[in-house]
């Protein structure tokens, strides 16, 4: 995908548009983009300064401007004291900073593409670099495309995230949308830790059911369901949105606590509702004993209905 945007690979179908212009046939050098790779790609015989100046020189930027620009980027990336070191003697994360710097240094780029750039970085440093990138993004205001399998990384920078599944974009939305209304069961599973509870269900009167449990649905959902023929029905609800109360009431379901995982800041409770296992996320003060009953409720606005893996949405 990234390589199609940058032009390193030709798409077999469809168009790539930059600012509305078709660029399919343009080679990467004519597309005005920068790319940062998974592993630091640096010119190791040059100094850090020369590395950063390289794309500018190739673009015939005047020498005085190069100097200013390199200094600027080096400051942002906090490598200004290393400018005159040979690039090969840097540590892995410094190298990656340099290679990011080479992407950022050009002022005329229409987009910067990142291909999992933080894979090689130590977890402690990832925090810092992520923050740095976010700041850079806000400071320079350019289009960035970021590829990652790490959801935290994804949502840190992104205004919008495209979730890819099987070579297809299944949802393109803000982090909030991805979290609150995942468009596809894969998005539900992939975004969030733990992922969404997804349960296979069947049609029942007024809603759907699994085992002996009946889940009532909104009327518009029922309407849509009537028009659909597919039998592949699923409902999803995020562990965060399942409510727990100690007492039974009309809209609660009795479930059995199987396991409680204490993760310090929160707890993940595994419960059994009929035959179905569900994960419930509770804060650290939650307490219950294993094999004891608790009462769950599923707020309707968080209960998502999926037909053929895709979300059923209310028509406007």
């Amino acid at each position: 995908m990234l390589n199609i945007i940058s032009g390193l690979i030709q798409p077999s179908e469809g168009e790539v548009l930059f600012d509305g212009k078709r660029v399919n046939e343009l080679s990467p050098r004519d597309r005005n983009i920068a790319q940062v790779f998974q592993f630091p790609v640096i010119y190791d015989s040059m100094t850090v300064y020369e590395n950063l100046a390289f794309p500018l020189k190739n673009n015939k930027v005047p020498a005085s401007r190069i100097k200013v620009r390199v200094q600027e980027i080096a400051e942002v990336l906090e490598i200004e004291d290393k400018l005159h070191k040979k690039a090969r003697n840097l540590t892995a994360d410094e190298k990656q900073k340099v290679s990011m710097g080479r992407g950022l240094v050009r002022e005329d780029v229409s987009a910067i593409l990142f291909d999992e750039p933080l894979t090689v970085i130590d977890p402690q440093l990832k925090w810092k670099l992520r923050r740095k990138l976010k700041q850079i993004h806000e400071q320079f205001d350019i289009t960035m495309v970021y590829v990652t399998h790490d959801q935290l990384e994804a949502s840190t920078f992104a205004d919008k995230i495209a979730v890819m599944y099987d070579g297809q974009v299944v949802q393109f939305g803000t982090p909030t949308e991805l979290f609150e209304a995942p468009n596809h069961t894969f998005v539900g599973y992939f975004i969030g830790s733990p992922g969404m509870n997804i349960v296979e269900v069947e049609r029942c009167s007024g809603g759907v059911c699994f085992g002996s449990t009946v889940l009532p649905l909104e009327s518009w959902q029922v309407d849509i369901l009537k028009r659909m023929t597919s039998g592949n029905l699923k409902v999803g609800i995020r562990p965060e949105f399942i409510e727990v109360s100690p007492i039974s009431s009309d809209d609660t379901y009795e479930a059995n606590v199987r396991d409680i995982e204490d993760l310090g800041t929160y707890k993940i409770v595994t419960v059994e509702l009929g035959e179905q296992e569900l994960k419930v996320r509770q804060n650290e003060e939650f307490d219950a004993s294993i094999d004891s009953p608790i009462h769950l409720s599923f707020p309707k606005q968080w209960l998502m209905l999926y037909v053929d893996e895709f979300l059923v949405q209310e028509q406007q």
């Binding site: 402690q124 925090w127 935290l152 949502s155 982090p175 599973y189 969030g192 830790s193 993760l263």
Partner: protein, 364 residues
């Protein structure tokens, strides 16, 4: 049946890798070594495995000195960060290889390979070669090979680092279940605090070759012995604030004054470090005596189901961890609330002097 490290040290060419470690691992226990890169986790595991010889100290197994014993004669297995499998053997042969070397009967080998493979859900891959598999499958193969021989000591050296986070979540959960019933000693090294919490068992914090703290995971988490332990075992790192306690009030960074209440009254006057976990800072007050501070948003990071918000003002810089997705723009003013009853207090030597009662016991 336990493994004891007695004043174990290792140094090569004047560089100390492990300094006088004293630890005991019980059979059937799951132990996590938590520390940053180069904290000595791998060195310690290699000493325990017998791959390296300690410069000083002894290694006792069931009370017997096994310090110099050959690796082949110990019944251990190890799983590496890289996916190490025999590339020239099929998955089946990979898993079978320790058993073949133990001269087990063919049918017994077949039974155990199949059993272990199905436990790790790779039974459909047995005829393939490791390099044809995905990273997760390769690591499952490595685990199967380690588990198939019923080792008395199983060592994991950051086995999940190179996998993506959903797979990590899955395998972590499987691991916990796999070891629940086993009578072996499992030792697991990781750099991530969350992983240690998710795996449970006993946690040992390592830093620069030394043991900082050891104990059941929740004990260590709730009562870190010093600021170092608190920082190591908190992700994002615990927020630290300088403060002074006088007879009547506590002052944070000579800026925010607060009347002494509750447990803090017991502290003798003086300078302290106050620590608060990112998850305990809130945007809404939970108690009347919560400390209110006006800050500005520096960055808000959203991880699927939670938000890490970096806030700052001229005096403080803090990270807070919020449930759910919250989008704030950089520079937006916010009021944050620090619950006084969840503050950890460390003295000037950075030793823990006060554990917040609200957090220590767990239950409300």
């Amino acid at each position: 049946m336990s493994l004891t490290l007695e004043n174990l040290s290792r140094s090569v060419d004047g560089v100390d890798y492990i300094q006088g470690a004293n630890l005991t691992f019980e059979a059937g226990s799951f132990n996590v070594l938590l520390g940053r890169t180069l904290a000595g986790k791998t060195s310690m595991m290699r000493l325990m495995a017998g791959l390296d010889k300690p410069s000083r100290g002894r290694l006792l197994y069931k009370g017997e000195d096994v310090t110099g014993q050959n690796v082949q004669r110990r019944n251990i297995s190890m799983i590496y960060q890289q996916f190490i499998n025999y590339p020239t053997l099929t998955v089946y042969e990979n898993i079978a290889s320790p058993l073949r070397l133990a001269k087990m009967s063919k049918s017994e080998i077949d039974r155990r390979v199949k059993e272990t493979a199905s436990m790790l859900r790779i039974e459909s891959l047995l005829k393939r070669y490791p390099l044809e598999l995905s990273g997760g499958q390769q690591q499952r193969t490595a685990m199967a090979r380690a588990l198939v021989k019923d080792a008395t000591l199983v060592l994991f050296d950051e086995p999940l680092v190179n996998l993506d986070y959903k797979l990590r979540e899955e395998l972590r959960a499987e691991l916990r279940d796999l070891f629940r019933e086993r009578q072996c000693i499992a030792v697991y090294a990781t750099t991530e605090a969350n992983e240690a919490l998710a795996l449970g068992g006993t946690t040992t914090l390592l830093h620069e070759g030394g043991v900082v703290q050891t104990g059941p995971v929740m004990d260590v988490y709730r009562a870190p012995v010093n600021t170092l332990a608190a920082q190591l075992f908190s992700e994002p790192p615990m927020n630290m604030i300088r403060g002074r306690v006088t007879d009547t009030e506590v002052t944070f960074d000579e800026y925010s004054h607060h009347a002494l209440t509750q447990e803090l009254e017991k502290l003798p006057p003086g300078d302290y470090w106050f620590g608060i976990r990112p998850s305990h800072i809130a945007l809404v007050p939970a108690n009347d005596d919560d400390l209110e501070i006006s800050m500005e948003v520096a960055l808000s990071e959203i991880s699927g189901s939670e938000t890490f918000m970096h806030v700052e003002n001229s005096h403080f810089e803090m990270v807070m961890q919020l449930m759910g997705v919250h989008q704030y723009h950089t520079g937006a003013p916010v009021k944050v609330y620090l619950p006084i009853n969840k503050l950890f207090v460390f003295d000037n030597d950075e030793q823990l002097v006060h554990t917040p009662s609200r957090v220590a016991g767990g239950a409300v």
